[in-house]
Symmetry: C2
Subunit: 342 residues, 2 copies
């Protein structure tokens, strides 16, 4: 929730002093690989020798992705970076540097914008990521944050891709589904007396990108993965379509927190179509999946949850079906969140 905050409106501070303030907030977590800092026309970064660069960008637009009365600035910064780190994690790569474009109304306080950067910097520091540059612009109609993250992956060997799922693969997710959608509902309807609402809001506002999990999955031989931003029933069809396979989901195995089942009649849609969970969805042969379970367990990391299996596509092409409590399998309509209906 937004709190009153001291500081000076940035239309008084001015663009260039603000850039200096932000330059002091963002720390160097690059080990000397990003030697130039804000101030020149472009930033310089030395990737480790012999690496591929993995790059992703995400726009967050006020009233579409966030509301300034729903989130404090530090948390908003966390989320803006987290959704990009999640994309890097989904490839099994290691995040390295970020560029941050900010469009601001102009009445934001310097302290608030510094908090936004602090949220990014703190999350970045935990993953060895340095903010190396950016752009600040006036945007009177709606604030916006455009983050680009560059990561590194070994030069050879396969990265995790949507197109690599094969019949017989186990389908798994790295954590529970639906909490973020429940958090959005809580914020929209101001359901502040609900049991468990803080963890729902936290899941929506402050997703934890599965960076360590993604790198480990790739190293353990997982080939097909993506991050869950559009909900299981929105995202799994993308893997099926890119890989030319079908998927059967076991209804009873989908990890849906009880708090959601108890609080919302439409908990099933919320968990499967809600989106923004930013857990990793991956598929792997049974032997690889067994290795994943053993390794995560030994490392003290939360075990991924198997939720179904990849099967060969039928004559009508890739499809998605669900095995219910009775054991009966039925087709289910895919449902991607789309920014434009469609």
């Amino acid at each position: 929730m937004a709190m009153p905050s001291g500081g000076t409106a940035i239309r008084q501070v001015g663009e260039f002093p603000l850039i200096e303030i932000l330059g002091r907030v963002a720390g160097d977590h690059s080990g000397g690989r990003a030697p130039l800092r804000m101030g020149d026309d472009a930033a310089v970064w030395k990737p480790r020798p012999g690496r591929r660069v993995v790059a992703t960008t995400d726009l967050m637009v006020e009233h579409v992705h966030f509301r300034l009365d729903w989130v404090d600035w530090e948390t908003l910064g966390h989320k803006a970076l987290a959704v990009n780190l999640s994309d890097i994690a989904a490839m099994g790569a290691r995040p390295s540097v970020a560029l941050v474009g900010l469009g601001l109304h102009g009445y934001e306080k310097d302290r608030e914008v510094a908090d936004l950067y602090r949220g990014m910097d703190r999350l970045g520091a935990r993953h060895g990521l340095t903010i190396i540059g950016g752009d600040i612009s006036s945007s009177p109609a709606a604030a916006m944050i455009a983050v680009t993250v560059l990561g590194e992956a070994p030069r050879s060997g396969q990265l995790m891709m949507r197109s690599a799922a094969r019949p017989g693969d186990v389908i798994a997710v790295t954590g529970p589904l639906g909490l973020a959608a429940a958090g959005l509902r809580v914020l929209e309807r101001q359901l502040l007396t609900l049991d468990g609402e803080p963890s729902m809001r936290e899941a929506f506002n402050r997703p934890e990108p599965r960076v360590r999990e993604g790198r480990l999955l790739r190293r353990l031989g997982v080939r097909a993965a993506m991050d869950l931003s559009d909900g299981l029933l929105g995202d799994l069809p993308k893997i099926c379509s890119a890989s030319g396979v079908s998927a059967v989901i076991d209804m009873l195995r989908i990890p849906i927190p009880n708090a959601i089942r108890w609080a919302f009649d439409d908990w099933f849609d919320m968990a499967l179509r809600g989106g923004e969970d930013y857990e990793l969805l991956f598929t792997a042969p049974a032997a690889v999946f067994a290795r994943v379970m053993r390794t995560f367990d030994r490392a003290g990391m939360r075990s991924p949850i198997a939720i179904g299996e990849i099967v060969a596509a039928g004559p009508d092409g890739p499809s998605l079906s669900v095995r219910g409590a009775s054991g009966r399998v039925r087709d289910i309509a895919p449902g991607a969140f789309s920014h434009f209906g469609g």
Copy 2:
């Protein structure tokens, strides 16, 4: 000027089909170094061995940086990429790949958005740049374009920086100043009968990034450069301040097109404070500058124009002064364009 255009509104087309359309517009100009294309969570790029990565990002916001009734979509795409290429050029680096974030109202036509991409792709192709990824979002209040460009520079040796100007250096620009500001005036006031107005509008809407010039300048030993986005009197103080030096500009040598002098009473401010020219501003010792002139001439490139010299800063620190027609030198107020006044 916007023309009626066929096609389907993207709120009907949908986000994912639109991404496919755009993937077909964007060509591979990477020579196999950006093998994955749109479709996975992140894009992959192999920089040439032993290079540093040079990275820049720019936001363009509707009503702030562009108006959809002032420019066609293809030209808007050109400009959105050009301003980023100009930043890469200012470092003396070579542009390689781009990521494109688009925030759209939703009533834009698929053909218009494809034209936007085509404008970027055509300019990119001329410079060996490939669009490797991006993000598309709804942005009902104002359309926006967030482009990030990654380039490459040799691993060792100095890039051009704002902090490397030294007393005795010649100050030079790669082309005339003020045309873009005049073009903005033409568009704002609809001065469509003015002599030379097409070239003014073209300068504002379709700046040509000085990529070849920037690389050549760096190779010839130029150490201090930046691109002129905020006007000479906005940008030159940044070099002075970063380098701890002062600058003396020769009024009579500033290349201001006659068309602007004839058309506008405030041609001086327009040329020196107007911004958006995207020519390179650089400083170099006389011997390096002489080599630059010879080499550009031999290569059939337009010669840079010497406009003044760097001198030691006085006791009050870096300052900017102008030598008028009479030979008298007087201080002049710096004037950066700032997005927030300041």
